[in-house]
């Protein structure tokens, strides 16, 4: 076999693989391609041992030249022994007749840090190398991501603002506290007669704690369904807290009829609620305040009255309804 014209070959390889090295059979570096030189600009690598310059740690630690030669043709993971310890990918091919080996290296995924650390330009990569396209993509994608993130943040802000303005409780589809307050205020301003029922779920916390939030959410949705079924279309139902509801019944209803509505509500709510394999049992306590035409109480006072009635129901042992005007004599 004729001896190879290494200077001519290396000049060609420098263009094709600007990050390659040629090693002797003993693992000493005899040639360093131009881009690779930029990784150790202060040191001349020729004459040094390959394993002195690079640490090979995957797939297993390689410490001797014969081990390295045995890994020929397979993918090598290595890193520079000196800072910035850039990690590189490589492959080694043995030259025939004990003439040593060629090793080609690449930045792999660390190309972004690589070009920063060593100040590389397009000319440092082979014309066929996809590194430049990769760098273009990384930069283009992160610019696009920044713009998207920006939009997402603003949309998130707008969503919060919209929720703030919303009148509906998203879980149950009932009115929320803000909407309920507005409706109550208007009714009082217009001096309309109505009944305010305040309703707290009993044992709801136990369901939530023992069976989880999903079960709790399901219970709240079922309760909302029952309240819709037991009231008329014009009545206002709102969820005003975790397990607190109010019902505003328009008109001056008789106490007996209101009592009837309240007990139907309690009976309905006490029906076992199925959630997955579990059955949830809850009940409800109700406080009722009636407002007649000319009633001087404002919204807060009226709410306090229904609240007091609600607590009276709770202290009577729950699962019942109390009218605020039945309490008055106690005070």
């Amino acid at each position: 076999m004729p001896t190879l014209d290494w200077p001519a070959l290396e000049a060609a390889f420098d263009i094709l693989c600007p990050m390659h090295l040629r090693l002797t059979e003993t693992g000493h570096i005899v040639h360093v391609a131009p881009t690779l030189k930029k990784l150790r600009p202060d040191a001349d690598l020729t004459g040094m041992r390959f394993l002195e310059v690079f640490r090979l740690d995957r797939p297993r630690s390689i410490t001797t030249m014969s081990e390295l030669m045995s890994r020929a043709r397979s993918k090598l993971h290595l890193e520079l022994r000196e800072a910035p310890c850039t990690s590189l990918k490589g492959v080694l091919v043995r030259l025939p007749k004990g003439q040593g080996a060629l090793v080609n290296l690449s930045f792999g995924i660390s190309v972004v840090e690589g070009v920063q650390d060593f100040g590389l330009s397009s000319a440092d990569f082979a014309a066929t190398d996809l590194a430049i396209e990769m760098l273009y993509l990384v930069e283009a994608k992160s610019a696009a991501m920044d713009a998207s993130r920006n939009l997402n943040q603003r949309l998130q802000g707008a969503k919060l603002a919209a929720e703030e303005q919303a009148a509906t409780d998203t879980l149950t589809g009932l009115k929320n506290r803000r909407a309920a307050d507005r409706i109550l205020e208007t009714a009082i301003e217009e001096d309309r007669p109505f009944t305010l029922m305040q309703l707290d779920l009993d044992f709801f916390k136990a369901v939530n704690d023992s069976k989880g939030h999903a079960a709790g959410d399901r219970v709240l949705q079922e309760v909302a369904k029952i309240m819709r079924a037991e009231t008329r279309k014009g009545d206002v139902i709102a969820r005003v807290g975790g397990d607190e509801f109010i019902i505003l019944i328009e008109g001056s209803a008789e106490k007996d009829r209101l009592k009837e509505i309240a007990s139907r509500l309690i009976r309905g709510i006490e029906q076992p609620i199925k959630f997955e394999d579990e059955t949830c049992h809850i009940s409800s306590s109700i406080g009722i305040a009636r407002r007649l035409v000319g009633d001087p109480r404002g919204m807060d006072a009226l709410m306090q009255c229904s609240d007091r009635a609600l607590y009276a129901s709770k202290s009577k042992g729950r699962a019942c309804a109390t009218f605020d005007d039945d309490l008055v004599e106690l005070y």
């Binding site: 920063q116 590389l120 330009s121 000319a123 760098l135 930069e139 283009a140 696009a144 713009a147």
Partner: protein
């Protein structure tokens, strides 16, 4: 048209003529929201309408307005991303010119729904080229003249550009490369720590 294009027009007007000028233009163009979203897609009629209203309100020639927009996109420090992404196209100005053929695909690789005008470069002699631009925006070639002038400057090349008019949807630009290394140009680091 993609929001990135509309946002670029908005940024150019705001930075060049002021926020108040933009407010007037946005009002005249009947924009629902005077601030474009870069990552949203708008109706194709919006961009030409904004350009029409802008040239009218500012009292500037359409060609000049679009050319200055092109220059702004490359040379304005706040628009660094555009210059950098274009510089990835080539190691020197001629290499860059050839990369314009791929600009349409390159843009879509980054933002899938960004459809830039299609460009095609023809080489007549070593230093004579022509670039055709296919766009439904009348005068888009002027944007490219501004952009190419600024890019030539960035590469340190000396060029002469001439607008060849519009036929149907196609506009032509004649490019004469007088010197590739006229000035030092700006450095282009592949990796920039942000």
């Amino acid at each position: 048209m993609h929001g990135l294009i509309n946002k670029a027009v908005e940024a150019f007007v705001k930075d060049t003529y002021g926020v108040d000028a933009w407010r007037v233009i946005a009002h005249r163009a009947d924009l629902e929201d005077p601030s474009f979203e870069a990552m949203m897609v708008y109706d194709n009629s919006v961009t030409p309408r904004v350009v029409d209203c802008a040239t009218e309100a500012l009292g500037v020639e359409r060609g000049d307005f679009l050319q200055n927009l092109g220059t702004y996109l490359v040379s304005q420090p706040s628009q660094q991303a555009v210059r950098r992404l274009l510089r990835f196209g080539g190691v020197d100005f001629v290499d860059f010119l050839y990369s314009l053929d791929d600009l349409y695909d390159r843009a879509r690789l980054a933002v899938a729904d960004l459809f830039l005008p299609r460009l095609e470069l023809r080489e007549h002699t070593v230093n004579q080229f022509s670039l055709t631009v296919r766009s439904d925006i009348d005068g888009f070639g002027h944007v490219l003249i501004g952009l190419l002038t600024a890019m030539a400057d960035d590469y340190g090349a000396l060029v002469m550009l001439e607008y060849g008019g519009r036929q149907g949807e196609v506009e032509t630009i004649a490019i004469a490369l007088l010197e590739t290394a006229f000035a030092a140009g700006n450095r282009f680091e592949l990796g920039v720590r942000v």
